[in-house]
C-alpha cells in the first residue's frame, strides 16, 4: 500500500521509501509487533503508528515505574532486605 511511485517534486519534507525500509529493518529488532510481518508488506503508515504506540507505552511504563519506585522508597521498611539494598544504593 505504500506509494511506490517515484516522486517528481523531490521535496525533502517527505519520507522516502529507502528511509522506510531502513527504519523497518532496524525497528524489527526493537518493536515486537513489526517483527512478525514481512518487510515488503508493511506500509509506512503502519510502521509509524506502531512506533508511536511503542514510544507512548514506554513513556507510560516509565511514569508507572517511577511512581512505584517513589512509593517504595517512601514506605521503606527497616527490616525488608530489598529496601535496605535500595537504601544502601541511593544514600551515602
Amino acid at each position: 500500500m505504500s506509494s511506490r511511485r517515484p516522486r517528481q517534486s523531490g521535496t525533502s519534507s517527505r519520507i522516502t521509501d529507502d528511509q522506510i525500509i531502513d527504519l523497518v529493518s532496524k525497528l524489527r529488532q526493537l518493536v515486537p509487533e513489526i517483527r512478525n510481518r514481512r518487510s515488503d508488506k508493511v506500509p509506512a503508515s503502519k510502521v509509524l503508528q506502531e512506533t508511536c504506540n511503542y514510544i507512548r507505552n514506554l513513556h507510560r511504563e516509565v511514569d508507572d515505574l517511577s511512581e512505584r519506585l517513589s512509593q517504595l522508597l517512601a514506605t521503606i521498611d527497616a527490616e525488608s532486605a530489598e529496601a535496605s539494598i535500595i537504601r544502601s544504593l541511593i544514600t551515602q
Binding site: Q19, K26, V31, C52, V62, L65, S70, L89
Partner: protein, 183 residues
C-alpha cells in the same frame, strides 16, 4: 548501535549518582516530590549518558532546565557537568505554541476534504489510496515528532535516526527501573 548492557551500566551509574545527590540535599520529601525526583533523575541520567551527542538528549535536558520549577533540581541532578551540558543545549530552539499554524491547518483541511469529496467521483481508486496513504504518513509523522523530544525541529531523516536511538535508550531505562522496582 551500542551494546545494550553497556548502556544499562552507564544509565544505572548515572541514575544512582543523581538519586544520591538529591537525597543528600533533602532528607524528608513528600510522595509527589519524590516521584518528580525519581522521574527527573532517570530522564536526565538517560540524556546525559548520551553526552549531548544526540538531538533528543539535548532537547530533553533543555526542556528540563528551561522550566523554572525544575531548573534548580535539574542542575543539582546533573551535578558538576551541568554547566557544560546546559551551555551545549542553550542553543536549542524554544518550543512555541503555534496556534496560528493549527488554525490555518484546520481551514486548509476543511477545504481539502470538500475538494476530495468532489474529486472522489472522478479519480481512480489507486490515486485516492495513495493520497490517503500520504495523508496518514504526514499525520503520524507529526505525532512521532511530538513524542520524541526535540522532534518538531528535525527533518525527516534526522527524526528517523533520533527515534531509533531514543527507543533504544527508553528500553534501557525501562529495564533498569523495572529491575530496581521488582528486585
Amino acid at each position: 548501535m551500542r551494546n545494550p548492557s553497556l548502556i544499562k551500566e552507564e544509565f544505572l551509574k548515572r541514575w544512582i549518582i543523581a538519586l544520591r545527590r538529591c537525597t543528600s540535599l533533602k532528607k524528608n520529601m513528600n510522595i509527589l516530590e519524590r516521584n518528580k525526583v525519581v522521574k527527573l533523575s532517570a530522564d536526565l541520567a538517560m540524556a546525559s549518558a548520551r553526552n549531548g551527542t544526540t538531538s533528543w538528549s539535548r532537547a530533553l535536558i533543555a526542556n528540563a532546565t528551561r522550566d523554572n520549577d525544575n531548573r534548580i533540581l535539574a542542575e543539582q541532578i546533573l551535578g558538576p557537568e551541568s554547566e557544560i551540558l546546559v551551555k551545549r543545549v542553550s542553543t536549542m530552539p524554544f518550543k512555541t505554541c503555534n496556534r496560528r499554524k493549527i488554525r490555518s491547518k484546520r481551514i486548509l483541511k476543511r477545504s481539502c476534504s470538500s475538494a476530495i469529496r468532489r474529486v472522489r467521483k472522478t479519480v481512480p481508486r489507486k490515486v485516492l489510496a495513495n493520497c490517503i496513504a500520504k495523508r496518514l504518513i504526514q499525520k503520524r509523522t507529526h505525532i512521532l515528532k511530538s513524542l520524541v523530544p526535540g522532534g518538531e525541529f528535525m527533518d525527516e531523516t534526522t527524526l528517523m535516526e533520533e527515534t531509533l536511538d531514543y527507543i533504544a535508550y527508553l528500553r534501557v531505562q525501562v529495564d533498569v527501573m523495572r529491575s530496581c522496582t521488582y528486585c
